[in-house]
Symmetry: C2
């Protein structure tokens, strides 16, 4: 019997080492520029890894783009500075870094603090209950610590550079974008995009037009993204260049229903809503329809994508028991986000965020509208003119100027872009209290707005259409992370026939498998080799990827080689008229005619039939297991 790779290996690190060794030895991936010593956080996908990636991306296109008629675009990686100024990346896409004061080696401040706390908790037997509670609290709030707080803790705990034990600098922000210069003048800074989404947002106006000026619609993009990590670790999970597949679904903020939600509403899977996390309970199985109707998930469209992402990941071979959808806590979400869920997959590194599904409201389109002066809005034409109450926000510039001097413009702009809900709340507060605290994001601080600084009113108007900024619901897929988790979930070992060694197997579904079948003559013999070549030609014509193995190695060894690449079917030529096809995981064989073999493999790998269908059609109990 095959043992379950995950359960049988007690030690997570040992299991990971076994997977990674196999992946590297079989060239699924290797360190980039290995002959020059490699560069941290950069990896090459070798032939099987590249094939898995291309299969995953082809299925993504089929499952999302084609199925939902999305508008796919393809934008450059080199991005003008102004785009990333507008999006906030130039100012805020940073990690806090500390430097070894003597050698200049850089570290992520939060990583050092995290490592310190974890090690202390795990290894210090003499730790007091109070200290333990304190360190656990630090770990819980780690992502919320300011630069000053992080620096304070590092000083307080006496944390030093891990390699040299030298003292560390105070933390300071390091922008994670790779910077470059566009053109020869040196005057046009550019960046390698940190995400593909911005390319879609800046094209909203054209895409909306292309879609016949109708909402909702979704645009999608697959491409490289770049993050100049301070000190990459966790192998394929935290890298400096990676493939993202992103969807931006534009929807009327007043109607986030989805016509196809009913197709996914009865799905049930592990969800981890905010309330459950806060209460300390584990994730639990919830029916998606219920999650939406109870308001756990903010709206149908968000729910629809959560369901589609679940189906996508499970079809790839992700174990549904090690997949959960975790809602962002209030402090994790951007202030503009309406709701946000991560598809997290459990692997030897813990629960890893692999897909983010966020309702980003109107934030991105507004930011680019403000910066470019081009209105990225949608229109709803009324059948006949409607009398509407319109909100008018009129900042009193003179009073704002007196109160805020140089900050006046920023405060004024922030007032003008308030949502209706925010404005009405402010109006109520001003009327009852005479003043109100107001967050100005562009200044990163709160200011006090007084009664005389702004008038907020509702006026009646006749309107022929409604003009509004659409909301964006964004499912964003880290393809490399999904693939790495898939490797761990697909890997298992089983004893060889003689029992003297453990053999590695990847149980990839045919959809994902890098090669769909191998072809080998049972023995080296010209007749069998001719048949093998003949079958190879038929496979090529059918568009099925295969590997042919003419070496004289024992059939058992050749099966083991092919299992280790996750090849689902092995065709063994043992006569000139018929051959056997062996299924990887069950090792069961069927016998089919030489002329049929390509079409049988095509049927099963393309999902038109299952292996069980083929078993009942072709299996004869007499079939010999040659291993």
């Amino acid at each position: 019997m095959a043992s379950n790779g995950h359960a049988s290996v007690l030690n997570r690190d040992g299991f990971r080492q076994a997977v990674v060794n196999t992946l590297e030895r079989r060239l699924f991936y290797v360190s980039s520029f290995k002959i020059y010593g490699g560069v941290a956080g950069l990896y090459d996908y070798g032939p099987p890894g590249c094939a898995v990636k291309s299969n995953v991306l082809a299925f993504w296109r089929q499952h999302f783009v084609l199925e939902e008629n999305m508008l796919e675009v393809d934008c450059p990686c080199v991005t003008a500075e102004i785009v990333l100024k507008a999006s906030g990346h130039v100012d805020k896409f940073t990690d806090l870094m500390v430097k070894d004061e003597k050698t200049g080696t850089c570290y992520r401040a939060d990583h050092l603090l995290k490592d310190f706390c974890k090690e202390k908790l795990e290894k210090d037997a003499n730790i007091t209950a109070d200290k333990a509670a304190e360190l656990k609290h630090v770990l819980a709030v780690l992502d919320d610590l300011s630069s000053e707080e992080l620096g304070g803790k590092i000083k307080e705990y006496g944390i030093v550079a891990p390699d040299t034990k030298n003292p560390l600098s105070d933390p300071y922000p390091f922008n994670l974008m790779f910077q470059t210069s566009i053109g020869p003048s040196g005057l046009s800074p550019g960046f390698m995009r940190p995400e593909t989404a911005q390319g879609i947002f800046v094209n909203f106006k054209d895409l909306y037009y292309y879609n016949g000026n109708k909402l909702p619609f979704a645009a999608a993009q697959i491409g490289q993204a770049f993050r100049n990590e301070i000190s990459p670790r966790q192998g394929l999970l935290r890298v400096r260049e990676f493939t993202l597949a992103e969807i931006e679904h534009f929807v009327d903020p007043d109607d986030k229903s989805h016509p196809k939600f009913s197709e996914v509403s009865s799905l049930e899977f592990l969800m981890f809503p905010r309330e459950i996390q806060v209460s300390g309970q584990p994730a639990k199985v919830i029916r998606l329809g219920e999650a939406v109707s109870k308001g756990i998930v903010n709206n149908e469209t968000l729910g629809f994508f959560i369901g589609r992402v679940y189906l996508f990941l499970v079809s790839l071979g992700i174990d549904k028991d090690r997949l959960r959808f975790r809602q962002h806590l209030a402090n994790e979400m951007a202030h503009y986000a309406a709701d946000c869920w991560d598809a997290e997959i459990e692997c030897s590194y813990g629960w890893i965020e692999c897909v983010g599904i966020a309702d980003r409201s109107a934030y991105d389109l507004r930011a680019h509208t403000d910066k470019s002066g081009v209105a990225l809005v949608a229109h709803e034409k009324f059948a006949e003119p409607r009398e509407v109450e319109k909100l008018v926000i009129a900042p009193v510039k003179k009073e704002l100027g007196l109160a805020f001097k140089g900050d006046q413009r920023m405060v004024c702009e922030a007032l003008e872009v308030m949502s209706e809900k925010e404005a009405l709340e402010m109006k109520a507060n001003l009327e009852s209290n005479g003043e109100v605290e107001f967050r100005v994001c562009t200044l990163e601080k709160d200011v006090t707005i007084k009664n005389n600084m702004v008038t907020i009113s509702k006026e009646k108007k006749k309107e022929h259409q409604r003009v509004f900024t659409p909301s964006v619901i964004e499912p964003s897929f880290g393809i490399g992370r999904i693939i790495y988790c898939l490797y761990e979930h697909s890997f298992y070992t089983r004893p060889s026939k003689t029992g003297d060694e453990q053999l590695n197997v990847f149980r990839f579904p045919p959809l994902v498998a890098p090669i769909k079948c191998t072809v080998f003559p049972l023995v080296q013999n010209q007749q069998y080799e001719e048949v093998a070549k003949n079958i190879a030609q038929m496979l090529t014509a059918a568009g099925i990827s295969y590997k042919i193995d003419m070496t004289g190695t024992s059939i058992g060894k050749r099966y083991a080689r092919t299992d280790e690449l996750g090849v689902p079917f092995a065709i063994t030529v043992d006569s000139t008229s018929s051959v056997t096809i062996r299924e990887r995981d069950s090792k069961v064989q069927i016998r089919v005619g030489v002329e049929e073999v390509a079409s049988v493999v095509k049927e099963v790998t393309e999902g038109h039939s299952t292996w069980n269908d083929m078993l009942s059609k072709y299996h004869t109990p007499a079939a010999v297991d040659e291993e």
Copy 2:
């Protein structure tokens, strides 16, 4: 009758404008970051352009990678400096640039000189015959001019900055790679790769092992590449970021035969060998087998790829009469290249290099072997030991040191890596003349080697294997350029039914077409719309991309819209039981049952049947042309 777009438009610029207008209006592509004014040389592919690109790449994978069992890899764009030092890009990947001395605006020096000569020749009626001959000569040798020669000509002709008429600086080299910094220290320079090939070369050792230590084999890579052009022009043809698809076929330098050459040897197409170019004759149709047997093309493997590239381009829809294979002239080729051919496609910008097919000999693997110290070599094991004559090159370090001082090491290394042919020539020259001029590439100069500085001899040895550096044959595809030329070759106009306007059509083959069919109800009516939705679902299930058009626009207008996107088939719902399918170019319709329509479209778009097959099966002369 449809008019041929190319022939009917007398004016190349006018034709180009018509194509480009259509492409931009229908969102095949747009300037990147358009709402911010755009950036020269960066473009976004909108939905139809993105679909065309994905179809071209999928076919490339099918035609090359799958068909030849190539090893596909996927390496990062961010590349460590040392890799591009070894390849020569850090030192030599430059264009000569001049600056407007007052404004600092940069121009490519050769472009300014070229523009000057062309304009003078075209517009100056008083030019003397001598002067005209001189300018023509300058144009002919433009690519060979040194920095000093270019500067001299610019001064001599009084060329000034085109925009301001200010004087220009002397030309100086500008490196075309986008530079960046890897990690936070600022101490690890990196570049955005200028080609994908280097990622394959540095992995040669692993790939050779993966292939069972057997030659020949080919590796392939599709990915983004970057060139920071000084002043991009020619739209999609000269851009700062582009998709390359490259193949590196590794082969024994002593045996460049190809087992499948016979499959392409009878192809006949336009070839433009060196001799014909030099003699001033036009390109002529040559049979590929003859070109190889007569030695016009250096070897079978190079010939095989020329043939496969021809088939690839013609299958995409490139007009074979505007496609030629041009051999590089001796002065165009790198010193190490054995032979090099460009697939050039004629478009409104002239003949454009779209695919380069080069026999780069052992250059790349040797360069990385030298720099990394890792031997990138292949082995041929002998059945029994062989007595071989082995070339021994022994530089006399003392003499070299006396003669070349600090350059000694470079000279010494250059001597050691001479090929057998070079070494034997040197030996003969030293014996007859006592000294010889010797090019040291790493020093970029010639040095004089004397008799006492090196001994070159042949010694007899028993060897069990042969160790050698494989030759590389590299077909390299500029995907964006191929697609742009395809747009021009596919575009034509034809009069509308009323004759009062010209309608645009792209005659894309189904393989390439961004959308395979459109579905529209003949009139707005709930029954027909239900049928249309039903057909849409069947198309999705069959994996066929479609667009549904429910607007009440006239059927003629809807056909015109769909023709302009190059959609090959339009399905019109005019009853609840059967529908018409109209072919784009002939406008002929067939009638098929609602249940059959998806499978008919699938058959034809996937190439299992032709439209003619369907015509004879379904066409009834009574079918009405609704336009």
